[in-house]
């Protein structure tokens, strides 16, 4: 029977079939951070359990550490970091802590090490683990109870998902980035519209994305509710893996095996959606859910036009929180802060795209602009290219340490109430970047354009970019 790529990966990792259609799913790689793992290790200790396969785990410090300097930030953060290090030491698990040249945001670090490969199952106590779909790996987020389950058994009790294919055909217009494709997909499907599904992204526009772009797209699949995202691996993935520090020793044999890894031509999907790449414009969010988005050239929508009462109420509430009025031109909304960072958009390609806009330009007066490179390796590469000088000359603060930082504001990077941000991150939730802070999501180049303009701005108006 023809199978989807998702189904093939599930089948290849099924250790046992369990009651009720669930399976015991083998996990190839498990990644941990400092804030969703301590209670899992404590649970193991209480039950007297050991780690089943210590070599198949990696712990990275990223969520709570400061990025203004290479430090824990505060005592609570320090305790989380020290607890993770002690747990890893006790169980023989690889740990990339502060000061380690390999440290950074987990979903940036794992691919750059060559640890995300086609055909794998990768689990992590972080919702954005869908990122690994860019490599044809089944990545998904889990809670802390499941972190304990993977530590103790190297498996998960897993209910297979339904299959949803999103096909994006055509050429992306100039100025339109992978982030825009991701936001367009979230807006089309709705936040939660893909709950219960694994999404496979396909089509010529997806195939044309580089690995950084594919990671951005798969990363944000969780914002439409998809528990997993996949893109069939191709030559771009294989060549990306070459020379990575921890790429498999027998890479050629691996590539030969990976070549057939795709959905069968006649595989059935439970749901399909087609998006026209040529119709996607640079997008910004206007509300407090990632599906509340529109072209930067558009106006703030009127909630009264929303037929569904719950959605209308949500839109009204969002506009009140965001301090916006229906009919306001999005490109006239003034910002206080610009933030480039996060597991969605902090890779070298993202920094290059933003730097292109910033070269020879200055951040508008009154705007605080910050860039946090996704990992220590990304920062080193960017500095070798001189990108740090471009950001600094433009008036951006170039952070000396890496982490999630103001994406979720668990460290000291917290926006103040009513401050408005142009942000390359993934969530515009109420309070996400600080209590009362107002987030507009967009691509890194669009953040750079907004920083220069002092308000949300169309990157296509900046000559010399893209």
């Amino acid at each position: 029977m023809p199978r989807t790529l998702y189904r093939k990966l599930v089948d290849a990792h099924t250790v046992r079939r369990l009651d009720g259609g669930e399976v015991l799913l083998g996990v190839d790689l498990h990644i941990m951070n400092e804030y969703t793992s301590p209670q899992a290790f404590a649970g193991l200790a209480e039950a007297g359990r050991s780690v089943f396969r210590p070599g198949a785990h990696l712990a990275v410090v990223d969520h709570v550490n400061a990025t203004r300097r290479n430090a824990a930030g505060d005592d609570d953060g320090r305790l989380l970091i020290e607890t993770l290090e002690a747990n890893c030491r006790a169980h023989g698990i690889a740990f990339y802590g502060l000061g380690d040249p390999r440290q950074g945001i987990e979903h940036v670090v794992v691919p750059e090490q060559g640890l995300a490969r086609p055909g794998m199952v990768i689990a992590c106590g972080d919702s954005h683990t869908t990122t690994y779909g860019a490599f044809g790996a089944l990545g998904f987020g889990i809670g802390t109870s499941e972190v304990a389950h993977v530590l103790a058994t190297q498996t998960l009790v897993y209910a297979p998902l339904k299959d949803f294919r999103i096909v994006v055909e055509g050429a992306l217009p100039l100025g339109v980035a992978a982030k825009d494709v991701a936001i367009a997909a979230v807006a089309a499907v709705g936040a939660g519209g893909a709950n219960g599904y694994a999404v496979e992204f396909a089509g010529s526009a997806v195939a044309s994305l580089d690995l950084a772009g594919r990671m951005t797209l798969c990363n944000m699949a969780v914002e439409l509710g998809a528990r997993a995202a996949l893109i069939a691996p191709d030559e771009a993935v294989f060549s990306w893996l070459r020379g990575r520090p921890q790429a498999p020793a027998d890479l050629d044999a691996a590539i030969a095996a990976w070549r057939g890894l795709a959905s069968d031509a006649d595989a059935a999907f439970d749901r399909e959606l087609a998006l026209d790449a040529a119709a996607i414009a640079p997008l910004v969010t206007w509300g407090t859910s990632p599906d509340q988005a529109a072209a930067v050239t558009a106006r703030v929508p009127d909630p009264a036009a929303e037929f569904d009462p719950a959605r209308r109420a949500a839109a009204e509430r969002a506009l009140a929180y965001m301090g916006l009025a229906p009919g306001q031109a999005l490109a006239e909304i003034a910002i206080d802060r610009a933030f480039i960072g996060s597991c969605t958009n902090s890779r070298i390609e993202d920094l290059r795209a933003a730097a292109k806009v910033l070269r020879g330009r200055r951040v508008a007066p009154g705007v605080t602009a910050v860039v946090v490179p996704g990992s220590n390796r990304v920062r080193a590469e960017a500095e070798a290219e001189g990108l740090d000088a471009v950001f600094r000359a433009a008036g951006f603060e170039w952070r000396p340490a890496s982490g999630c930082s103001m994406c979720l504001a668990m460290n000291d990077d917290v926006a103040r109430p009513d401050e408005r941000l142009a942000s390359s991150t993934n969530r515009n939730f109420e309070g996400r970047q600080g209590r009362g802070a107002r987030t507009h999501l967009m691509s890194p180049a669009m953040v750079a354009a907004a920083a220069v303009a002092g308000h949300l701005a169309d990157v296509r108006a900046f000559s010399g970019e893209v």
């Binding site: 304990a148 389950h149 309070g431």
Partner: protein, 205 residues
């Protein structure tokens, strides 16, 4: 994990769609190495103002819904971050049942692992419950997991639940213990995969 069977009590309406786990458990409560003390964090920015005073308009601060063990919630409840702290906090606040339509996947699994019954209803059934429990005189419900039924005076609505999840909730099972009974099968599976595809499961350095 505590087993769930029949939960009877006040149900509170929270109709907003896409209530995310940042809203359920704001980040300032996450810097902890234990599961304890999270009740105060639940919906903290909705329950309390910046000075820490209760917001009188929030449903869980009003009679009869304060302390409700049942929440009737909007679509896609629990979206966003994987933080299980959201579910730990809800359970510590005394919430035992969530009646909604769809739940975000990670949150849904976290509920199962912590004895919180999340029920997926058709939108019309959920909407009818939202209207009903918004009336203080009609906010009392009983949610019967064994019978898969929600009861209010004179009304009974059935619900579907996956058999494996129902079993776990009814028994309060320890899934790790159950999985470790398959330890030999897991070892054999790993050995076969390592031999056939040595590039698949890394040994991280």
């Amino acid at each position: 994990m505590d087993a769930v069977s029949i939960v009877a009590g006040i149900a509170a309406p929270l109709p907003q769609p896409n209530v995310d786990t940042d809203v359920i458990m704001p980040k300032r409560f996450l810097k902890t190495v234990t599961r304890a003390g999270l009740a105060q964090g639940v919906f903290a920015d909705l329950r309390f103002d910046a000075a820490g005073a209760e917001r009188p308009e929030f449903v869980l601060n009003r009679a009869p819904w304060r302390g409700a063990p049942i929440l009737v919630v909007g679509d896609n409840f629990g979206c966003g971050s994987s933080r299980e702290h959201a579910v730990w906090g809800l359970a510590q606040l005394g919430v035992k049942v969530l009646l909604g339509t769809t739940f975000a996947g990670i949150f849904f699994d976290n509920c199962r692992r912590n004895g919180l019954l999340a029920v997926c209803l058709p939108p019309e059934a959920r909407d009818a419950l939202l209207v009903r429990v918004a009336d203080p005189a009609r906010a009392d419900l009983a949610v019967d997991l064994p019978a898969q039924e929600i009861r209010a005076d004179g009304v009974a609505v059935g619900f579907e639940i996956e058999p494996a999840r129902k079993r776990d909730l009814l028994t309060g099972a320890d899934p790790i213990a159950a999985t470790l009974a398959h330890a030999e099968a897991i070892r054999a599976f790993e050995a076969a995969a390592d031999a056939a595809e040595p590039w698949r499961t890394p040994t991280v350095r």
